[in-house]
């Protein structure tokens, strides 16, 4: 099965530190996995997130959502599938799906919404160099150019 070209897949091994007393991965750990997926998305789109920050643009969260369908356990390898769900002039929303590599089962889905700000925390337009890389990576980026 091949993924659409605008979806970036990252494989992760569940760490013991991510599990809890119920023997499964704690729900907050998925938000960290989303971040790993997001970082890989930036890299594969051509501009890594540290480079984005060096250029003076930051993408703090304004909202995060996760829905949990099944549990991941220590020893599992999970795949984080990341795509741009919505690109607007001053914000971007990434969507995620976490899948168990062995079974293909969906463990969780979610999204994170980010504002584009400068180092002073002032909201900025998403710079052209990012718009371009995102537009090239996924056609979803072409939605909602207004805003």
């Amino acid at each position: 099965m091949s993924l659409p070209s605008n979806v970036i897949e990252t494989a992760l091994q569940v760490r013991y530190a991510e599990t809890d007393a119920m023997g499964i991965v704690h729900h907050a750990s998925y938000l960290v996995w989303f971040e790993v997926g997001r970082g890989e998305y930036f890299r594969q789109a051509g501009v890594s997130y540290d480079e984005v920050e060096e250029r003076g643009y930051l993408f703090p969260l304004s909202e995060a959502y996760a829905r949990y369908a099944a549990s991941a356990r220590y020893g599992d390898t999970v795949l984080v599938r990341t795509r741009v769900a919505q690109a607007r002039s001053r914000s971007i929303t990434f969507a995620y799906e976490v899948v168990c590599q062995a079974t293909g089962e969906t463990l969780a889905t979610g999204w994170t919404k980010h504002l584009c700000v400068n180092r002073q925390g002032q909201v900025q337009r998403v710079p052209q160099f990012l718009r371009q890389t995102w537009a090239e990576t996924g056609q979803a980026c072409r939605q909602g150019a207004e805003g």
Binding site: I24, H27, L31, E35, P60, E63, Y68, T112
Partner: protein, 144 residues
């Protein structure tokens, strides 16, 4: 007149919870919601550990957080937790995290918990005793 029970728990942002941006990393807010949740359950008289010994627990099925302002190292935070909705097998709780140093709202959010049989991991109806406590906490007679 009735009002929802709101339970406040206080904590301080730990250094390990901050990131390279100098603020608390966004996944920690979900852990803080968990701190609020456990405190809430304890406060309304639900012995969570005892329920687990009887084979019933709950898992988080859904979680949302809206970030209003960054939290910084050593900042004193208050997590205010209340029940939003009681379902057949699920319970929706809402949270507000605010700074006690600046009185700014840091974040708001909700989580949906589903009660499960710990052996089968299948959803089960909320146990009667727990449901009674939740009902009371949702429409708490004022002044009592």
């Amino acid at each position: 007149m009735s009002a929802r029970v709101v339970v406040e728990e206080q904590l301080r942002v730990r250094y390990a919870e901050t990131d390279a941006l100098g603020v608390a990393y966004y996944a920690n807010h979900f852990v803080w919601f968990g701190v609020g949740r456990v405190s809430f359950l304890r406060q309304i008289g639900l012995d969570f550990a005892a329920a687990e010994r009887e084979g019933i627990s709950f898992v988080v099925a859904e979680a949302t957080c809206r970030y209003h302002a960054p939290a910084r190292f050593d900042e004193r935070l208050a997590v205010r937790t209340s029940i939003q909705e009681i379902g057949q097998t699920s319970l929706t709780m809402s949270y507000q995290i605010s700074s006690l140093d600046s009185s700014r709202v840091i974040a708001t959010g909700e989580t949906v918990q589903v009660f499960i049989n710990m052996q089968t991991h299948e959803p089960v109806a909320i146990p009667t005793k727990a449901r009674r406590l939740f009902d009371q906490a949702l429409s708490h007679p004022s002044g009592s």
